[in-house]
Amino acid sequence: MQGTQQRDWVTRAAILVPYLWLVAFFLLPFLIVLKISLSQTTIAQPPYTPLLDVSTGWDGLKAFFAALSPENYATLSSDSLYLWSYLKSLQIAALSTAILLLVAYPVAYALARAPRRWQGVLVLSVVLPFWTSFLIRVYAWVNILQHDGLLNQALIALHLVDAPVTWLATDTAVYIGIVYSYFPFMVLPLFAALEKMDNTLLEAAADLGSPPWRTFLQVTVPLSLPGIVAGTLLCFIPIVGEFVIPDLLGSSSTAMIGQTLWLEFFGNRDWPVASALAVVLLAILVPPILLYRRREARIR
């Protein structure tokens, strides 16, 4: 009896660890950001007010809360710059996720159908670019896409264009960079879902009169749906907040929310507005995550 209780206690403690982790490294930082978003900017160190001073006691605490105000959120809604920045981010994230899905699905399908002995090598080759720094890979794209870069040289050599095309600092460059960088995040969940699929299901569908393309739509796609959802979220959510790729490959017209946030933080030194931007971004991204969790729960 003593032993069981002790084990219970150990189990509970083990469960507690990830929660403590979440509280310490997710909830607390978020509360701090939320607090800053309700503060006012000031020229000081740190550059916002009010500051919580425990030594002032109860009255100090009341004054602290009284000084918090949601006016930064009003600022966000009053200036269309922020709205456009959010919309641009969502647009880029949605479109590039869609492109990723279209490009990655056939690759994942081919991987899943490849002979077993090749699968390991092929999956590795999808992940291999990750062994070099992300930043270097994006800079490499700057090189490829620039005026006299590899892409233009190749296009001219193949007589597809007469003069160099401007790639850099366009939306296209941002899409190329994002699709390239997030490719494995889409391929791997799709591969995991497709690889699990029983081949005899495809034979059964054919046997019951379904030609290959209909089998794909009626059997393969529905059965890989968990992979599609996982890959979509895995790409869409971080792309919305993407900073490096649009910053290096895009222009001011492709300003995504990450860049606006950076500008507020480091350019304007307006921590409260930057924090408010971050809080709103989180609020935008939570619904799809919850939706996914609900779906997961329903499948199980």
Partner: protein, 361 residues
Amino acid sequence: MAARPIVAFEDVTKRFGDFTAVDRLTLEIFAREFFALLGPSGCGKTTLLRLLAGFEQPDTGRVVLEGEDLAGVPPYRRSVNMMFQSYALFPHMTVAGNVAFGLKQDALPKAEIAARVDEMLGLVQLRPFAGRKPDQLSGGQRQRVALARSLAKHPKVLLLDEPLAALDRKLREETRFELKELQRRLETTFVIVTHDQDEAMTVADRIAVMNGGRLAQVGKPVDVYERPNSRWVAGFLGEVNLIEGHISEVYPSFVTFESESLRLRLPHADVAPGAAAFALRPEKIRISHQMPEAAAENGAAGVITDIGYLGTVSYYKVKLDSGRVLKAALMNEQRQSARPIHVKDRVWLSWAPDAGVLLSD
């Protein structure tokens, strides 16, 4: 039986790399037949079924369905349906959805699909489970969904690939009879692949015994069991005592067979003098303590060395005076305590003159 076969394999060969799964095989299956392909694993029986379903293409020869050469016809255009060994039910669809799948491919009117699905679920007694997903069913229920799904399109030929292999023994034995009954009622041609000879014998009108990609023997269950055409078939189907010897004399009315242990006088068979084996099923042998009349030419004396009690029957190992051991089986008609034969008893074995077969292959 109709003169024209519904299915014909004509000199069909199928190789996988160096392995020849089906070797120049010719076979005809007739309409409304329950036909079994029986053989050990790797004998090519499943390949034969897959050739008919269209999942494999023959290297040489033709597969013909109702007079039409199936070469180049993809699986989804063949009016045969298959019940898979693993059932291959679509996990994301309900029971009704699975059964309706094939009908939807033919774009039948919704009302007709619903009616047919209901009919099929009634046939396999699964109406109350129409809305369930496959993973919410028991093994036996999944098996019936697979059966209903493969029958829903009223195929010209239903292919069953080890349909009962995943069921536990009791359910398997019950389901054999249900399958047979279903086939009789639907008057559809069934082709079943199995490695289980009891299954093949129970359900099939005709059995093709396969070995090494070839047909060893084709015939009614009683024919392949009672009159096997080779030592291999005799040994593969059930228990058999194979006594090697030679046919010494052939007379118009009888032949004589001699071996180290036995000298037999057998009714005339279509045999020539030379090496042969005498195949005798254990259950055809009678055991008695007294020397039976006329045992001289169809019997032998020996000592019981071992008794295996199996409930319905007991197997007796009898060591003949020549040293040769024969296996005999007796129904346990009496309670075991009353069983009169014991180990070390000296007994006489006897059998009817036509109880065994002479095999030269």
